[in-house]
């Protein structure tokens, strides 16, 4: 499955990268060079692999639904101009015109 110029430009668009036109051919060559080594995987029989890997070997542990202390460089209150009851207040969106007028 060789990578084409169109592939590189398409992927760059998906990845929000502005690739200079003069570099596209070089990138095509590089990606094809790397992906050629990946083709070794296609010959591996993985039909017996029942499920893909779950990285934590003992699953994801549960924790209590509570917050703990977090050492911060600056107080959380400095992150936004207005707070109330521990929450940041933000301007009301136009689509929320029916909501109670609680924002500044």
């Amino acid at each position: 499955m060789p990578v084409t110029r169109e592939d590189v430009l398409h992927v760059a668009e998906l990845a929000r990268l502005a690739v200079d036109e003069s570099r596209v051919d070089h990138l095509v060559q590089e990606l094809n060079g790397i992906l050629a080594h990946m083709d070794a995987l296609s010959a591996v029989d993985t039909s017996a692999v029942e499920r893909n890997i779950s990285v934590p070997v003992d699953g994801t542990p549960l924790r209590s639904d509570s917050s703990g202390p977090l050492t911060m460089l600056t107080a959380r209150e400095t992150f936004a101009p207005v707070m109330r009851d521990g929450l940041f207040l933000v301007p009301r969106l136009a689509s929320h015109e029916d909501a109670p007028d609680s924002a500044p």
């Binding site: 929000r16 990606l31 790397i34 992906l35 995987l41 591996v44 893909n52 977090l70």
Partner: protein, 493 residues
């Protein structure tokens, strides 16, 4: 007070002197800052450190003096200068991942591993150079220039935690933190002649570690000896509510388990150590092979039974890794778009601003991996690349489970296929990727692994790698400590 042997003392020895009142934390920090200044000066500047604040470090040392005066004692790492890889969040110092896209970024919070080390008395003195966003094996992919190996400035330090490994090797600090995704602690530790540990996935909280490939990333310590690495692991390991993938497995007192065996003539009695042939290919450097064989003979003399084992899917690890890691990176790095972090390129349209900021902010290797990762995740290629790689990853993991399930306690291999190479010598991306050929398997399988110095070839350090089953760091440390003691000074000859 000057500390004449500062560059050689272990963290535990230094901390004992501080705790005993023979040294002040101010002395240890000043010694570290002086050594850092020497290493950064002149035409042979090692370029190991990106960010440092001498005033902040001295203030932290003075604060520790007050804490110790009140408590009557210091922590286990009282007054120990700590160097931290630049992708681990610290308070008061930049965290840039050696990337222009995070230039000037200072994290508002710190990593859990840093908090735990500070609570034990360690003081952060420097953020260290690294491959940009940990993508590389030489610390040449830094926006701030390559790090140089303290043992020979013409050579790379290895990477991506090259600055941290180099800082320990150069005598700037006795202890540093790096991060692993495919060998980024063990490989530079091997190249610089120091000890590096990759914990079991989940053993150490990733909170505050800038994400590269979240299913592979782990923070790990780099030290001058196995004992210090074990101390650091005891401190930074354990569950953290801020990281849902951190494990609640009990953290043993590693030192208490291997120290009593120190005086035994056969400290590895009853253990079976496997040697996988796949890690000793014909192409392996002859000098590295000879040093590994010497270590294997020593392991036998220490009481271990050494047997041949097979990890048949090893050759597939590099292709698997270089599909999965870029795929995860392409997602993780999407957040760096000029809106929330770092400098922003001006552009009339929002999408153009994203693209321009990212293209100007990311270096060539990061750009290459984002493109590669986006490609293997894109419609039409997902099954052939990403899904297939996940399935083969399961086979690689099964290899390790089969070996450890058959009664093998630990594995011994070389850490790297070569010694440190000259700066600029490796230009082909895939050739550079092959530097990780013996290390990526542990990350893919999630098992713990570490590198210790086992000798030198042509003056260049060689690392021996010890791997164990999930959460069996105790076994790994026991083998590493015994081998280190048996090698003695020959580990650095």
């Amino acid at each position: 007070m000057t500390i004449p042997d500062f560059a050689r003392l272990s963290a535990s020895a230094l901390a004992a002197k501080v705790d005993g009142g023979n040294l002040s934390p101010v002395d240890t920090i000043d010694a570290s800052l002086l050594r850092a200044k020497e290493a950064a000066s002149g035409k042979d500047s090692l370029n190991l450190i990106l960010w440092s604040d001498t005033d902040l470090a001295r203030r932290d040392a003075a604060s520790l003096v007050e804490v110790m005066a009140r408590a009557g004692k210091g922590g286990r790492l009282a007054g120990i200068p700590l160097a931290v890889k630049d992708n681990i969040a610290t308070l008061g110092l930049p965290t840039t991942c050696a990337s222009k896209i995070l230039a000037g970024y200072v994290s508002p919070y710190e990593a859990t591993a840093i908090t735990r080390l500070r609570e034990a008395g360690a003081i952060v003195v420097a953020k260290t150079n690294m491959d940009e966003f940990a993508m590389g094996s030489s610390t040449e992919n830094s926006a701030y220039g390559p790090a140089r190996n303290p043992l020979d400035v013409r050579l790379v330090t290895g990477g991506s935690s090259g600055g941290s490994a180099g800082a320990v090797a150069a005598g700037i600090v006795p202890l540093a933190l790096g991060s692993e995704t495919g060998g980024s602690v063990r490989q530079p530790a091997a190249f610089c002649g120091v000890v590096g540990v990759k914990p079991t996935y989940g053993r150490v909280s990733r909170f505050g570690l800038v994400a590269f490939a979240s299913s592979l990333d782990q923070i790990g310590p780099i030290a001058r000896n196995v004992d210090d690495a074990a101390i650091a692991m005891e401190i930074i390991s354990g569950p953290d509510p801020k990281d849902s993938t951190s494990s609640s497995h009990e953290v043993p007192a590693y030192r208490d388990e291997f120290m009593p065996l120190a005086t035994s003539p056969a400290p590895l009695d009853g253990m079976t150590i496997g040697v996988p042939a796949e890690y000793f290919p014909e192409s392996l450097d002859a000098g590295i092979r000879a040093l590994c064989e010497r270590s294997i003979d020593l392991l036998k003399s220490l009481g271990a039974k050494v047997v041949d084992v097979a990890l048949p899917n090893t050759s597939l690890a590099i292709p698997v890794y270089y599909i999965l890691a870029p795929a995860e990176a392409s997602s993780n790095l999407a957040r760096f778009d000029g809106v929330r972090y770092g400098p922003r390129s001006e552009s009339a349209a929002l999408r153009d601003m994203y693209a321009q900021t990212r293209s100007e902010g990311f270096g060539p290797e990061v750009t290459r991996r984002i493109l590669l990762g986006t490609y293997v995740l894109s419609a039409g290629y997902y099954d052939a690349y990403y899904k297939k790689a996940q399935a083969v990853r399961a086979l690689i993991t099964r290899d390790f489970r089969d070996v450890f399930g058959a009664g093998i306690d630990a594995l011994f291999t070389p850490t790297t296929p070569t010694t440190a190479f000259p700066i600029g010598a490796v230009t082909d991306p895939y050739e550079m990727y092959l530097s990780d050929i013996f290390t990526v398997t542990a990350n893919l399988a999630g098992v713990p692994a570490m590198s210790i110095p086992i000798g030198r070839v042509g003056g260049r350090p060689v690392g021996g790698q010890i791997l164990a089953s999930h959460f069996c760091e105790s076994t790994m440390f026991r083998v590493a400590y015994a081998l280190e003691a048996a090698l003695g000074g020959e580990a650095h000859q």
